[in-house]
């Protein structure tokens, strides 16, 4: 059995588990069993992705799908990488769900769709013809949408599901048209046929790329197609949110890479420009929106948008270098993008798991009603903190490594021959730097307000530490984050066959470099050694602690907070999340949203309290989606008048149609 057939069987088994879950969910407590099965199958799939270390692609054809083409499946280096990312996330999410799912009130609305969702994502990665790809793609959306609608009594969730599925279908239609263009009018829908075909006219690849960007971008959450994401991701149960944010967006990235780097053929340099521009805008808008959110899961979803933007900037760089035949820089950017894909899937899952644990313990997603959880949930707090450090791109964790590599790629931009790119790439670099800094601020705020300080509500005060399964899953993720941060050379070497296959070059083999440093281009240019830095920091911190103990006293006294001598015991005097974000909102926020402060000051003599509020409106929503919605409503209203015509009115319509067609025939030559 080849890894591919094993993978296909496992996917089939996942679908079977979905069916089994649908049958069992009504009965008793089936959730542990189902999640165990999912976890095991994900591990098998992970194995199938990791075991073959050859560059030769495996293919299989099943007599399904489009009849005269069949369903093609292919496991090459790229899909293997993404398969590993997806199934690692899937396995850990299943582990987490063994504990988390026990709190679920309506397991029958989650259990059948969870394995189906996993199966859908895996199928996208393996599909090797346009039809199977799109079926899997849409199936993935559909099953995740069912999960978004799991808690359907909440009108917000229903709205989220609606917007999600609309955007998903929009994306699918865009991809469908892209594939239509690539396949041509004879319908060569298999990817191998598309690879061989030449598109001819110069505008066709560009159009196909634009459509792919729309299609994959809407799934990945590129601005301005991102609006569904912060609605849908938080609406799902947390382990699903983790999968959607951490993993499904990566599947979208895979879709884009597959088309742009593989199917479209040799790139033109200007392809990279929309990617760089949109990616840069996405990072900044995403993180700015995250910074002002008070809903913890929404905040995480916006931060996903930011990270997707980072990945697309890196992909844009890779395209720019590839178009100019610069294999090594292209490989560097490509590697950085894929590494960030992997890293983000780890820490974003961990963050969502943490948010889920908090949600379970307190029933709250609003950080303004949390606080002080580090005392009641110390383990969760520690793990969440680790993920915050990782996502803020701080050394020595993994987030830094991939961002560092991207910066290294950005620094190679002067060697690009095109002036437009020379100027655009540093600008994108500024956006990346800005978003990295904002990201740190955003997660200081998230962690600081939710976990530190004093509890702002009763539920936050009475929170209990989460269960061991969840903790095990989260610890595993943090360990992986740390490992990936300390020993990135192994990962880079894992990615390099994919880089070789898709951009025609690869970064120097990192495994041979002493001290396990990473050297993307040459040592004289730059190098980084996460392990040494980590050891170094540990050493310094412990040394200082030791010296301090040696020189000073051990005495320690607990007392009330100092607070400049005016401590106020009420927790409302703490800095809130919105007050924390206010300076950033003032300084930078107006690019992303319109914020209107309003002060309700009672007249003298009135005893009611003065109220200060902020209304924040998303510019993208105001300028793009509201007009669309309004025009659809307008069209519906206008056309709807025809529903209330008299029979005579309808006859008039027929009459007019007949006369005008006769006129056409009369003047027909």
């Amino acid at each position: 059995m080849t890894p591919l057939t094993a993978a296909l069987w496992s996917i089939g088994a996942l679908l079977g588990v979905g069916g089994l879950a649908a049958a069992l969910a009504r009965g008793g407590d089936a959730s542990r069993f189902i999640y165990c099965l999912c976890g095991v199958l994900c591990l098998i799939l992970f194995g199938a992705a990791v075991v073959p270390r050859t560059a030769v692609a495996l293919t299989a054809t099943l007599p399904l799908g489009l009849p005269w083409i069949g369903a093609h499946f292919r496991l090459d280096v790229l899909s293997a990488f993404f398969l590993a990312v997806v199934n690692l996330g899937g396995a850990i999410a299943s582990l987490y769900a063994i504990g988390y799912g026990a709190h679920e009130k309506h397991p029958s609305r989650i259990l059948p769709f969870f394995p189906a969702f996993l199966a859908g994502m895996n199928l996208v990665l393996l599909a090797d013809d346009a039809f199977s790809f799109l079926v899997a793609w849409e199936f993935m959306s559909l099953s995740s949408c069912a999960l978004v609608l799991a808690h359907h009594h909440d009108a917000e969730n229903r709205r989220a599901g609606f917007i999600y599925l609309i955007m998903a279908s929009f994306g699918t239609l865009a991809l469908l048209m892209a594939f239509g263009l690539l396949a041509g009018s004879v319908g060569g829908y298999s990817f191998s046929a598309i690879r061989e075909a030449t598109l001819g006219e110069y505008w066709k690849p560009g159009l196909a790329l634009a459509l792919t960007l729309l299609g994959a971008g809407s799934k990945a959450g590129l601005v301005p197609l991102h609006i569904w994401l912060p609605l849908a991701h938080p609406a799902a149960p947390s382990h699903v949110s983790a999968l959607m944010s951490g993993v499904m967006t990566k599947v979208a990235v895979y879709g884009f890479v597959r088309v742009a780097f593989d199917l479209l053929g040799p790139p033109a340099f200007w392809w990279s420009m929309p990617l760089l521009t949109i990616g840069a805008i996405t990072t900044v808008l995403g993180i700015l929106s995250a910074t002002i959110q008070s809903d913890l899961k929404k905040l995480l979803a916006y931060s996903t948008i930011e990270n997707v933007g980072i990945i697309f900037v890196a992909l844009g760089l890779a395209l720019a270098f590839k178009a100019n035949g610069m294999a090594l820089p292209a490989a560097l950017a490509f590697t950085a993008a894929l590494l960030h894909v992997f890293n983000h899937s780890l820490f974003k899952s961990l963050l969502f798991f943490g948010a889920g644990a908090v949600l379970n313990a307190t029933g709250e997603r609003d950080i303004e009603r949390l606080g002080g959880l580090i005392h009641s949930m110390p383990r969760t707090a520690f793990l969440f903190l680790g993920a915050c450090v990782a996502i803020s791109a701080l050394p020595p964790l993994n987030g830094f490594v991939s961002e560092w590599l991207i910066f290294q790629a950005v620094l190679l931009s002067p060697s690009l021959p095109q002036w437009s790119l020379k100027l655009l790439v540093p600008a994108a670099g500024v956006a990346l730097a800005l978003s990295a800094a904002l990201c740190a601020g955003c997660f200081v705020r998230a962690f600081g307000v939710a976990f530190l300080g004093r509890p702002r509500s009763i539920t936050a005060k009475n929170a209990r530490e989460t269960d061991l399964w969840s903790l095990a899953a989260m610890s595993g993720l943090l360990a992986l984050c740390l490992l990936a941060g300390l020993l990135p050379s192994y990962l880079i070497d894992t990615i390099s066959p994919a880089a070789r296959a898709f951009v025609g070059g690869h970064v120097p083999t990192q495994g041979d470099i002493p001290w396990m440093s990473i050297v993307p281009i040459a040592e004289s240019r730059s190098s980084y050694n996460g392990l040494l830095v980590f050891i170094f920091i540990l050493f310094s911190a412990f040394l200082s602690a030791w010296i301090v103990r040696l020189l000073g006293t051990h005495a320690l006294r607990r007392g009330p907070a100092w607070d400049c001598g005016y401590p106020d015991p009420s927790p409302v005097t703490q800095y809130t999340g919105s007050s924390f974000a206010e300076p950033i909102r003032r300084a930078l926020g107006h690019v992303a949203f319109v914020a209107r402060d309003h002060l309700d000051m009672p007249p003298p003599g009135d005893t009611r309290p003065a109220r200060f509020g902020v209304e924040i409106r998303d510019r993208v929503w105001d300028y793009v989606y509201s007009p669309i919605q309004m025009s659809v409503e307008f069209g519906a209203d206008q056309l709807n008048k025809t529903h209330f015509l008299t029979i005579q009115g309808y006859l008039t319509l027929v009459f007019i149609a007949l006369v005008s067609l006769l006129l056409v025939v009369a003047i027909w030559p």
């Binding site: 469908l176 519906a636 006859l651 027929v654």
Partner: protein, 482 residues
């Protein structure tokens, strides 16, 4: 004329006609519905038999690659609907909505309608086909008005008047086709026979054919439900008994479409005639986009799906208008899938309206919680009809959109736009219907969910795996359609 060989073909007409006669004289709900089911089942078996042993074309009736698709499909849906109808009508009688006296009439009309549709499909004569479609219209008009409520009567009336005008226009077109064929094929019967017309299509006067096609397209297009001749369709679907809605959407529209296709083939064979494609594409797109917008303001659940039928008929007409092997294949597939799915949806909707005691969308909520089987059945059906994988409609929409985009990118944009608009409306409604806090139910119903899930299973299966014979068959037909 080889009469014995034609026997199964004639039996396809005789059985429904005989049953209609018998049913007209029998009363008692159980017995009549059994006879109805059995007769429909026999018709289906005979139709399936035609797949294997196809008789030579006769002068009145014939079976070829094109109409066998329609025959099998319509007898199949006729059969499953009769099963559904048994439980549905039973409940209607129990609740007193339908008087037992009308049941006799209902079943007789059901079989007469089956007879008329089979005749329309089998007819080897454009005049005969026209008569059959007219009879089918009349029978369905009677069934639409069977509840005798003001709304039902009004719907029947509207259907009747608009249908009559449509049928009149179609007749004029038919006469014109005869006129154009007459110089070539000679006076008399031969100039109305399909098999002869198809052979000599290239020799007919193209200008006359052009005018004829305008009339035929508008005339039969009325029955297909194409905008702007669609107005009868939503009311007729909404006010009649739900099995009739299922049959209307699943069968009658197809039969009319079949007529359009036949004439399209005739025109396509004539190089000098106006290309029928642009007209069909225009009407198809207009129907798609118009119906898409109309879906947003519907508050009656059956009207909602009636407009969705208009939308899908638009897509199918568009696909056939595009022509070419891919688009024609997609059109055929889409037609099949739409018939199966839409009738399944009506099966679900019928029982839902019964348990909830209303057809108002606003009063139906949380179905997946209160009635999981019906609710999820409806969700699956709507997902299927909205063109989401892994259901079969997705495959046809995939082929239509992608092949259109490869050939005429500018046409694909309104197509995709219309699909998206319609999808949005359907999704909005189904989320409201299926999710949220459940609304009150007025009672339970012994729902026969077998036809519903059987249809959905077929649609699902065909979305993932098309049997190679069906493929070859469809491809052959697609080739015929040009």
């Amino acid at each position: 004329m080889n009469v014995p060989a034609l026997a199964p073909v004639e039996a396809l007409l005789v059985i429904p006609a005989l049953s209609a006669l018998i049913l007209a004289f029998l009363s008692g709900y159980r017995l009549t519905s059994y006879i109805n089911v059995i007769s429909s089942g026999m018709t289906l078996v005979l139709a399936l038999g035609l797949l294997f042993d196809r008789p030579e074309p006769g002068s009145y009736l014939f079976v070829d690659d094109l109409n066998i698709v329609f025959i099998v499909l319509s007898t199949f849906i006729g059969f499953t609907t009769s099963v559904f109808s048994a439980s549905y009508i039973g409940h209607e009688i129990e609740t007193g909505k339908l008087k037992p006296a009308y049941v006799r009439f209902y079943h007789a009309m059901y079989q007469s309608m089956m007879f008329a549709m089979n005749l329309a499909l089998l007819a080897n004569n454009i005049g005969l086909m026209w008569v059959a479609i007219e009879v089918a219209t009349l029978t369905t008009v009677l069934m639409v008005g069977i509840y005798r409520t003001p709304e039902a009567l009004e719907a029947a009336w509207k259907y009747f008047i608009l249908g009559s005008v449509g049928i009149a226009l179609a007749l004029f077109g038919t006469i014109l086709v005869y006129m154009s064929a007459e110089p070539v094929l000679g006076e008399g019967y031969n100039a109305m026979v399909w098999t002869a017309l198809m052979l000599h299509g290239a020799e007919f006067s193209p200008r006359l054919l052009n005018v004829a096609f305008v009339f035929l397209m508008l005339g039969y297009g009325t029955k297909v439900g194409l905008v702007p001749m669609h107005a009868w369709l939503p009311d007729a679907h909404a006010e009649g008994p739900t099995p009739i809605s299922a049959v209307l959407s699943g069968l009658l529209l197809n039969v009319a479409l079949y007529a359009v296709l036949r004439f399209k083939m005739l025109l396509a064979a004539n190089a000098a005639a106006i290309a029928p494609g642009p007209l069909m594409i225009t009407l198809g797109l207009a129907s798609l986009i118009f119906a898409g917008f109309m879906l947003y303001r519907r508050d009656d659940i059956k009207r909602l799906f009636a407009y969705s039928s208009i939308e899908h008929m638009g897509i199918i007409t568009f696909a056939f208008g595009m022509g070419g092997p891919l688009a024609n294949f997609a059109g055929l597939l889409h037609m099949t899938m739409h018939s199966l799915t839409k009738s399944a949806i009506f099966f679900a909707v019928g029982h839902i309206a019964q348990v909830k005691g209303t057809q108002k969308i606003a009063d139906i909520r949380g179905l997946t919680e209160s009635h999981p089987v019906l609710g999820w059945g409806l969700v699956a059906g709507v997902m299927a009809i909205a063109g989401l994988p892994p259901f079969g409609v997705f495959m046809s929409e995939f082929l239509v959109v992608s092949s259109t985009f490869a050939r005429q990118p500018l046409l694909a944009i309104p197509l995709a736009f219309g699909l998206l608009v319609a999808f949005g409306a359907l999704l909005l409604r189904v989320i409201g219907l299926a999710f949220g806090e459940p609304s009150d139910s007025i009672g339970e119903v012994e729902a026969s969910v077998v036809p519903l899930f059987f249809h959905l299973a077929l649609v699902l299966m065909m979305g993932l795996w098309l049997e190679s014979h069906i493929v070859a068959w469809f491809q052959n037909v697609a080739g015929l359609l040009g």
